[in-house]
Amino acid sequence: MTTSIKQLPDNEQVLSGNGSCGGCPSPMALRIVGKALGPNAIMLLTPSCAVASMGMTPRLAYNWPCINVCFATAGSSASGIAQAVEILKEKGRLQGELPTVFNWVGDGGTYDIGFQALSAAAERNDNIIHFCYNNEAYSNTGVQRSGATPRGSFTTTTPGGKRQPKKNMALLMLEHDIPYVATATVAYPGDLYDKVVKAKSIPGMKYIEILAPCYLGWQFDMPDTVQMSRMAVRSGAWLLWEAENGKISFNNPSSFIVSGIKDADPVDEYVMKQGRFNRLLKGPDAAQRIAEIQGDIDRQIAFMRERAKITI
């Protein structure tokens, strides 16, 4: 049973008046994460919109100690902080509960540039939580292609649409044999809250990926952020699942789609509402392009359904 909205705690870790765009999904998701983690945490950020929008000295938008690190070092820096905190506790210089060390990193710092350090941290099983807020492009620098960009999507470096499908990063992290992996999105805050609370209680490396529809990069209207996130889940383009000790279970409403109780919505509506896809769908090959996008989604659902059957 997911936590209802009225049961969420009152504490705010993202303060009003930060520098992000109106309707930005990053502070939207970080507010829910903050409610689950509480004030006793240390936040690490690599270059991303979350750093650009944290405000001007002497003001800071996030109500945690924040450390800005190099783009490629999210995994290794967080490992170091987690070790340091444990040693301080051993020496008696830190009283009370250990703070949670977590990364708040975009898809560039996770899928591409930060992958090596993250993979190493996962292999060492250091006691950190890595959050990837995935907006499927390098939106901070003006929307360039990343490893998370889906097939057929327009970016400034793929003006004719990306030709390759995206990586399944959450599954890659699962294959590192870490204790907890989950995917979430901003439209389902109760689901996200439960996953973060669970991740906080498990020792070792945890990975949570949050789909964050960026209205500027995806080219839809500003008020539709939450709606776009919901449509991604209902069309099957984004699957909500979690894996504890390698055992995958799907969350509602993705569980209905994967188990075949309910058909996924056709991808057309989701695609046509986003400028990054529909600006390339005016030519004669539009039907073929949509079929390609639908094919990637169907393949991913079929693959994850079979992968979830492996429970050893």
């Binding site: 303060l15 930060n18 520098g19 309707g23 944290m54 003001r59 952020t225």
Partner: protein, 85 residues
């Protein structure tokens, strides 16, 4: 939270308004109709800026950027976007 005057080094402290008075970015303002409001708190949970009071459903217009997510997600249609003068 500490006040600006206590910051004596180039270190940032958690404070509201780190991006300035972001209410000036707004082109449309959300207005709550309290008669239609069912206090479901959906607008509060989806607000990226944390400017909506959870219990009173009032909006802090000093920082509200006017993104319109609250108006779009309101199930009873109690929030409308009105053009700023």
């Amino acid at each position: 939270m500490k006040s600006v005057t206590k910051a004596y080094r180039p270190i940032s402290w958690p404070m509201k308004g780190s991006g300035g008075d972001t209410g000036s970015w707004r082109s449309h303002r959300p207005v709550v109709d309290t008669k239609k409001c069912s206090k479901c708190q959906l607008c509060w949970v989806y607000c990226p800026e944390a400017v909506i009071d959870r219990h009173e459903i009032t909006i802090d217009y000093r920082y509200c950027k006017g993104c319109g997510v609250c108006a779009k997600e309101c199930p009873t249609g109690a929030i409308s976007m009105e053009k700023e003068e």
